[in-house]
Structures are given as structure tokens and as C-alpha cells.
Symmetry: D2
């Protein structure tokens, strides 16, 4: 039996942190060593999250970068801007980092700074690997720093990658109409995520202005080899977990559903966490709940020359925590499904 | 005080029927005379729908067309194909009809028969008025037969009408990504509308193949004066009521949000049931719940030359029952808001 | 036609305030004159609550007691302790008041001060009428000040009153196991009412220690003519509206369901807002949603000598806003159902 | 490495079946050999339940008792009455059985037949072990047939056992007010479990007449050593999973919360799947979701001499499937937490 890998989670008391703990607490090669939370400093994790009683006996500690000296890998589930200050000292201490914020997802500083704010560690941007294993698997074993993708970009990029790479869609025609459960907004209390404001209602937000847009455009442009523009409209669904993306593109040639299916089969062969739905069937968020799967289905609107791709993920798992563990497994040379090979929970 | 108008409701025991009864039971000019239900024949309405106890003392009766002789107006909330057999004898008995099925919404028999099945009363298609008051208000006072619009078409047509009429969008670029509450599927028990299959999940269905597509294309083409094609993708939201349409079109010229707002203001001035959201704000289904309003908001995606319109209605009220009462008011020369001028219920 | 009654609502921007506005905006004898909100001072009501667009054109104003000079009646939907400071100047200005806080619900200062905090206007406690119309109808026409009941007490007192008054239950055996929708917690953002904390979950809170207990005991003791003790356990249901009370008592004599039904029929005859379910049927919260009804059903557990009463109300309507309007109607000599005779909205 | 145990699941296409498959598919000592379904006979399991794609490659087969010859253990997740016909041939073929129906939960045929219907295999009733591991752990290693407990009885018996055994509550005073998610009603489509009938509503059903009552009374009486009577009222909560029981009893002596806590600590020490909440905190269903835990909390209502116990389980997991696997582990001499030691999923 090999020695376990010592791991710290910074920002462990949000929903993404909680989901990380759910996976890491039972990961056979992980030893949870330090879990930080400013808000709950000193309190036992299982008191704040009773679901974890019997699994985690540690208390939360303050987010001290020196914790890096005690561990081999740190997951940083902190807000953007906080991450860019935290990550350099962690790396300096010899720690490898999976960052779940937006701070290390962009190759170009200018793009980041246009959508966020000035970057204090821009020298790390070229080094950081964009942690979508299906696209960047080969860079992960050597990576010191992984920028774990946003939840919406994970859903949209995986949904469009084969079509964009094959140039089967007009690159100016792309639309991503995405619908997310409420946990994507985090655990902080606010009127917009209050039960009565969300329940039995449906709404769009940040229409064509959401910060996940440039992430999608970066990766899709890279696949296409030329600039891709996408109109992205997120919506809030009265459910806790799940993102469904309905992705539209104008076809550059006539295609049948079966041809699309085969294109995706080829693109995603040997990827353990992408599941394809045969023509005539479609994914739903319920069937990926709690898991690392991305489920994909297709329909060509022949009469209007358009393709519609349906992409479903769990925003907290594949859109954040379990994808981070997937990246971790690949970084550490472990079997890639270790600790995240759980069936979705349904109903 | 005027004599009340005697009214029958055929198919009164579905959700649309129940919603009709909610409005008609308190309509000051309506006397409910006959309410039909095959399933609940003989049982008091208030026993089947306890919410209506103290409001309706009638029992359900069988759907006999001869009931038409006792009333001036019939609402037919029966399935398509049933309606085409029921409506002719009602008209023959001198009754005026608001039909809530799909059977009298199409001007062209061929279109109907392509999407549904053969039509047994095609001679009524040219006479029937498509009951979207904002578009066909002037024909309603004389109408003998109104084809009450589908829920999705109501949402989409009202959302796109001003842009399409002004030819500000490319007529081949339209996409309607719509999300509906579960009551739109009716009251019959089925696995697909079972609680555990819907709750905490989200899915698309009948992608680019839903029967409401030709209704949208008929009315939008008529407004444009030339053929309009639209890709329509409906989705199921874990909520009971409400439809939100996210409507996309490529702009034929550069527009600012404010210009769009003014275009809509002009188009919908003096329409009591369309409410416009100023730039920077967006409608939600919660704020129209239980009401006859259609709430509209806009956002131009300047960089991608595209407009996004958000359209929100209550599928059972504006998408069916209260719109039927609106049509009824206009047919009978009553104040158009009578009985349906209720604020939405929120939260 | 009579002149309308000028009305102010203090604390109009919470959920209770919003629900009051929904009823008052269409009340035929009410002229809304001033709506106060500290938080939204100066903003149009319809901007904060888009559901009310087209119904209310006023902006929110600060909660100045001098507004009382402009109106005949004030509804005070402010927190307890705030109300006890606000109400005396309103009364002094000649205004009549329906207070929706807890401050004027108790006959005995000591009881109030045990469960809340010191009372600054105790001299008003004997004057104030406990606004449960079914029990105190005769005192309302003369009332200057009404203490509108709490939501849980409304549900429980109406459910147990006939049995307690007839002494058919052991007065030490009473248990009220109540389940409430989330809107009862108000509109302020907090982790406990965040969507993801409530959704797909169920919990008890303030077990046998909730402040609504003494309200129930006061009224039930008064009906019984001797002290009543009740164990009250509230629970949070993942829904927005509704309270269902499951009320238990040990029978002092053998009773059949039908006898209980007749006892309640007699007790509540001529009460327009109490509806009784015949033996074998039971109320649900869905069938009272948005309305002023209290629906009651019964079941005797013969083998264990116990009765179970099921009581259903809408917590925002009958549990607060519409009951306040009911009290207002009775205070002002108006038909008691005016403005609140709306059918529940379902589904 | 040991050889895996061959297992069949009869009735694998309901929600309990699906939940069994979720656990068994990843159980390290189980080889799924045959999964039966009348309805889906011949279809791949992963086509019916897309969540299980990549985990189960078997198709459903018809429920042939001869399948018993191929396996060592059968889980029978079929309706009561079906089970009593199926189980004898399974046992005759040398198979051991965990039956999830009600057919083998009762020690006395008369009790079963009073609440259900005539029993065709009464000779097995004395042999069958009531599969609540905390109470009958020692009988499981030898058991040929286990009657897996009902969901409500699991919740209620675990909640009351320590108090009843210690005779600290009056045995005629017990009330179990239980609230269940909708999955407890099974996967069959019906109006009562339709989304719109359940959503944003709350109701009681089968008040003091539910078939789980005698199961509770059997086990609690056995613990007490004398007859226990309990009033049991189940309710339907708008959520998919979870049962919360609010359990009431009159105390036979004065107790503080801490004393109750210690009583439970002693009773449940070394039980891996019972978690106790310290005084002042309470369990919720969210924190056991998807897991085999039963979480318990307490509150003494000193003034009224009553204790309230809060008991939370996941109805599909601890209330059925994972408890069945727990029984299986104990029957087969495996580590008892094998395959079911997963943290709850929250939010």
C-alpha cells in the first residue's frame, strides 16, 4: 500500500468546498490534512456540515499559506482575486495547486483583466493548465498549477468541442442557452438566492454579459484555430444542482443525427466521464446528479440548418469539485477515476 | 345591472379547466351554467377541486353538445381532435366558442394536418380568429369562433412581434429557447410528470419538433409579410406554473437597448396586459404568476450582433385560461380586463 | 358610491407587506395613500415588486408616524418591538390600526415580556382586540387597535377551538405539530432560508420553544375557561406558502368522526372563511393557497382514544395579510369578504 | 482477493430497485447477476436508468424464480403479496433472501393478515429476521430470510427504542408525526404523486390508519416487554427523498436533554449508522440524503412533561436499499459498512 497524499483545502466551507470534502473524505489515496475557513475557524467541520459527521474529525483552521509546507497538494476553493494572492506562496512552498477560482483559467492577462480586475500574478498564466481533462489531459501530469474550469464553460466546451474542432458549425453562429441550479451561486446568503425568490420561478440573468463567456471563447477558439464568438445566456432553475446547456449552431454542411453521434463517439472515445446519448434520446440533469459525468445528446433541425446539442453536468461535481479531483488524479499519476467513480444519485 | 352571460366549460376538470373556473367563478358578468367532465361526471366540482368550495356548487355533467342551447358562450378546454368534433354542433346551436385546443388556430388546413392529423371541420379554419388580442383585437367582437393560442406561441409571438414586424431581425435567424412549468403537460398522471422525475432536474424535450412551432411561424410570417422560420426548443422546469422564453435573433442593423425598448413601447401602447421592463431589468415567471400579463425585457449583444428578448407568462393563465377570458370579454363587448385584472401572486 | 378609505401600510416591503398590497390594491373601498419602507425609500413600489406594476404607482416613503394624519387606517407590518413604538402615535393621530406584529396580541404584559422583551405600551394591551374574527367578531367594529394573530396560532386555534370549548379533549394532552412554508420567515436574506438549505429537505426548529406557543395557550385557555398547555413544534417545508397543522388531543369521551364534523359545523356555521372537510377527506395547503380560508378535517384514532385535526391555511394570506383585511372590513363596517373573496390558486 | 458474491435483484426497476443498484453496482464483494423487471424485460438497465450507464451492462430479465440457482443472495424489491409467492422457491433453491416488501416483517400471522391480506407462507414468519441491524444484529449471520423494515418504522423505531426500552415514556402516550419525500410512494405514475399535485403543497394521508403502524408496535412492544400503542400520522413533503419523524411521548420521570443524550449514546454506541445530535442541535433530512445514516436529536418540553425526538433518514437508502445491503453484509460476514459507507450528498 502506498503512502497517502497529504492534501489541504482552502475555502472549505462553501458549497464547492463541501463537495470537495465529500469526494476527498473517501478518496483512497488522500489524507485530508488542513481545511480552512475564515468564518468557521476553530469549529469542527462536522458541526458546520453535519452530513460529514463520522467522515471528517478535523476542525476548520484559518487560511494560512504556510499550511502548504505540510501538504503535497492544495485545492483552493476561494473567490477570484483571493486566489491570485494565495496561490504564489503555495507554489513557492513546493505545493501543487488545483485552483477552483477564475484566476488561472486564462492564457491572456488582457482577457482576464477585461472581465475581472488587474491580475497580481500574471506570470503564472502561461504555466497554468486549463483543467478540462478531455482537452488537456497530456499536460496535467507535469502541471504545478491547474485552473479548474468554470461550471458553465465545462458544460458548453464539452458540448461544442467536436463540432467546433471539425468546423461543422459556423463559428459566428454559436449560442449557449444554459440553465443552472442555485448552488452555483455559492453558500452566502442573499435575496437573489433566497428560497421564496427562486422557488416556482425561472429567470435569466447576466444576459450576454456573464464572465464565463471569455472562458468558452478561449477554449473553443483554440480548438477551431480561429476566433469563436458565442452568445451566452445563463438562467436560474429552481433546483439545487445541475446545469443543462442547450447549444445552438448553424451547420456548415448537411448532417444527420447519426453522423453527429459518430463524430462525438470518436472525439470522446476512451474518456471515462463523457457519456453520449443515441439519437432520439436526451440527457437530463437528474441522471448526472452528484457525479463527474458530462452527458451529451444531439438533434439536427434539418429544415433550419441548425444543430442543437444538449449538455448536462452537475455544477458542483463536474462543474467544480469532482473535476478538480479528476485533475488531481491525473497530476499525481493515479487512476483517473479514483474516488470519483460513483453513480449519479437519482431520483 | 345587466343580465349575466350564461357560459359552459367543456373539459372543465383538467388544469386549464380548473384555471378557467378560478377566473370565471368570480367574473362579474358570467353565470356558470354547465361544466363538463367525462371522468368526474356527477361529482360536485368542489369535491374534485376543493379550492373551489364556496365558489362553485355545480356538479360536473357529461360533455353533451346540446348544452349549447342553454348558454351563449362555450369554452372548450378539450384535447385537439375532440374539439373539431365538438365545436361545429355548438356553433350550430347558436353558441359562440372560445376553443382552447389547437384545432382552430391554423389558417391553412395543410399546416394543421402536417403537424396533427386530418381535420374534420376545415371550413371553420378561415372563419376562426387566432385569439391573441394584441394582434387580432379588431376581429374579436364579431368572432363566432376563437382559436385560443398555445402557451408557448403566446410567449414567443408577443416577444418577437415588434422586431419581426419592423424587420429588425434576420427572419432565418430566430431561435426560441423556452422553459415551461409542469402544469403545461396537463393533469393526467404519467411517469414524465411524476414528482420524482421532474423535481431537482431540468431537461429539454421535443427539440426542434414541437407542434407549437407552426403556430409561431404562422403568426410571425403574417407580421413580417414573408416566411419566418424559427427553431423552437421547449424545456421542462421543476415548477408548476410559468413559461420563460429566451428569444434570439440576428439584428439587421445596430440597435441600442433603449431603441428596442421604445420600439416595444410603441407597439404595445394601450395594451393592458403587456408590461415592458426597462433596459437593465428582466422579467421572471414569478412576477406574472396567476395573471394575464406578458412581461418583456431586452438585451442587445452588441459584440455578436444579436438581440435577446426575455418573455414571461403564466402558462395556465395567459397561456390558456385568462387569455380565453380576455378573448371572451372582447367578443362580448365587455371591458377587456373584467375578471382578469388580478395582480400576480408572489412569492 | 361611498368615498374610499385612506390607508397606510407601514413596513410594506416584506412578504407580508407585499401580500397586503396584493389584496389592498384591488380592494374596492381602499385608497392606498402611503406605503413605507426604510430599505426602499423613494423607489417605486412596482420597481421593487414588479408583480404590482400597473396596480400601484406610489413610491415607498420613510415610516413617519405623521403619515397617520393623512389616513383613517394603518396596517403595521413591522417587526415586534418596532410596532410598540409606532402604534401609540398612530392612535394619537386618530388613526385606527391593524398591527401584524406580536406586540398587541397578548392580554397579559407578563406573558408578552416572558417570551419577547419589555413592553413600552402595556396600557394598550387590554384595549387591543385579538384579531381572529371567528372568535372575536363582535369586538371588532369598535376596535381602535387590532393585534392580528400569528400564522401558527391562526392555524392551531381555529383547528382546536370547538373541541377545547366543548371540553372534549384533555387540556393537558394537546400537541400541535405544524409545518410551514418558507415565506413565514420573512424576506430578509439568511442562510437558513437560502434555497439550497431548504430545498429537498425537511426540518423541525424551535421545538417546544417557539414564541407562538403562548398565543395559542392564551386563546385556547380563554375558550376552555381554564389553563390549556400545548406542546408546539414548528417545521420548515420546502414550499413558499402554506401551513398545515396536525393537532393531537386525547379524547375525554368516545366520539365518531361524524360527531366531530357536526360539532365543527355548528361552531363555524356562518363563518365565510372556514371550510370543513367531510370524514374521509383531508385538507391540503395547496387548496387554500393565496386565500383567506382555513380548511379543517378530522380523524378519530379510536383504538388509542385520540383525535387528530388537520388545519390548513396560507401563512401569508390567512396567517397575516388577508386576515388583516378581514379585520379591517369588520372594523369599518364593510361586507366582511370584500377584497378577499378570491378562490385559492392551484396548482 | 475473495470471490464475489452473486446477487439477483427481483423488482429492480422501481425506485427502491434503482437505489439498490446504485449501491450494489459499486459494492466490492457483489457481482450483479440478474436484475428482473416485468415492465422493462429485455431492455438494458442503463437505457431505463441512464444514471447507471457505465456501471451496469445487464439487461432486465423476467422475474423467474429459477434465477435463484445462479445466485447466492436475492434482494426482492417487489410488492407485498408478490413477495410471499416468490420467496419460498428462492429459499428452496438454496438462495438467501433480503425481502424489501412487508411480507416477512411480522412475527404474528394475525397481525399481518389484519393489515394486509391472507399470508400464503406463514411458516416462514417465525424464521424471518426483522432486519433492523441495531436491534437484531446477532440474528443476521444465520438468517436465511430477512424482512427488511419499512421506511417509516425504521425512522420511528430507531428514534424511540432507547426511551421505550428504559420505560422512560408512558407506553400509551406515543405519537409519531412523520413526513416523507415522494419517492416513498414508488415509481408508478398516479395523480397523487404528480408534480403539480405535490409541489408547493403539504398534506397528511392515511391518518392513524397506515400499515406501518403495526410494525412499529411489534418492535416497540418487544423492546418494552409489554404492549405499546402508537398514533402514527404520515405526511407528504414536496421533496424526493427523506423522512423526518417528530416523535412525542409523555415522560414517566423528569429528564434533562443531556440525560436523554447519554441514554442514546449508550444504546447506540458502536452502531456505525446512527448519529446523535447534541442538545441544542437537530437533524434534518438533507444531511442524511443518499446515505444509510439515521440521525437523532432530542428536546424535553419540561413544562409539559413531554419528550420530542427528531429522527431523520433517507427513505430510499436507510429506509430500504442501503439498509438491505447492511443486512446483506451482516448475513454474509462482510464488514458491515462495505459499499454503504458514503457521505450524504448535500446540498
Amino acid at each position: 500500500m502506498t503512502t497517502k497524499i497529504k492534501v489541504a483545502v482552502f475555502g472549505a466551507s462553501g458549497y464547492t468546498g463541501l463537495e470537495l470534502l465529500r469526494f476527498l473524505a473517501r478518496h483512497p489515496q488522500v489524507e485530508l490534512t488542513a481545511l480552512t475557513s475564515r468564518e468557521y475557524n476553530g469549529r469542527p467541520v462536522a458541526e458546520v456540515f453535519p452530513s460529514l459527521a463520522r467522515f471528517i474529525r478535523l476542525p476548520f483552521v484559518p487560511p494560512d499559506p504556510n499550511l502548504a509546507w505540510q501538504v503535497q497538494v492544495a485545492f483552493t476553493a476561494v473567490p477570484h482575486q483571493t486566489a491570485m494572492a494565495l496561490v504564489p506562496p503555495l507554489l513557492a512552498a513546493g505545493c501543487r495547486v488545483v485552483d477552483l477560482s477564475a484566476d488561472f483559467r486564462f492564457r491572456h492577462r488582457a482577457v482576464y483583466e477585461k472581465w475581472y480586475q488587474p491580475h497580481s500574478a500574471p506570470e503564472l498564466l502561461t504555466e497554468a493548465v486549463y483543467g478540462l481533462p478531455e482537452l488537456h489531459r497530456e499536460k496535467l501530469p507535469q502541471a504545478r498549477l491547474v485552473g479548474n474550469p468554470g461550471c458553465y464553460p465545462t458544460c458548453v466546451i464539452l458540448g461544442l468541442a467536436p463540432l467546433v474542432k471539425a468546423r461543422l458549425v459556423d463559428l459566428t453562429s454559436l449560442i449557449a442557452d444554459c440553465k443552472s441550479g442555485v448552488s452555483g451561486a455559492g453558500r452566502g446568503a442573499s435575496l437573489t438566492t433566497s428560497y421564496c425568490e427562486v422557488h416556482d420561478s425561472f429567470k435569466a440573468y447576466q444576459v450576454a454579459s456573464h464572465r464565463h463567456t471569455p472562458e468558452m471563447e478561449q477554449e473553443l477558439s483554440s480548438l477551431a484555430g480561429s476566433p469563436v464568438k458565442i452568445t451566452f445566456v445563463p438562467h436560474l432553475v429552481p433546483m439545487s444542482r445541475g446545469i443543462l446547456g442547450t447549444l445552438y449552431g448553424s451547420l456548415t454542411k448537411t448532417l444527420r443525427d447519426e453522423e453527429v453521434f459518430h463524430l462525438y463517439q470518436e472525439f470522446y472515445q476512451r474518456q471515462p466521464f463523457v457519456r453520449l446519448y443515441p439519437p432520439g434520446t436526451l440527457p437530463t440533469t437528474q441522471h448526472v446528479r452528484g457525479s463527474n459525468f458530462c452527458d451529451l445528446g444531439f438533434k439536427v433541425d434539418q429544415e433550419r440548418g441548425r444543430i442543437i446539442v444538449i449538455s448536462a453536468i452537475d455544477n458542483l461535481a463536474r462543474g467544480a469539485a469532482s473535476q478538480a479531483v479528476h485533475n488531481f488524479n491525473l497530476m499525481m499519476g493515479l487512476p483517473e477515476t479514483l474516488g470519483i467513480d460513483l453513480p449519479p444519485i437519482t431520483p
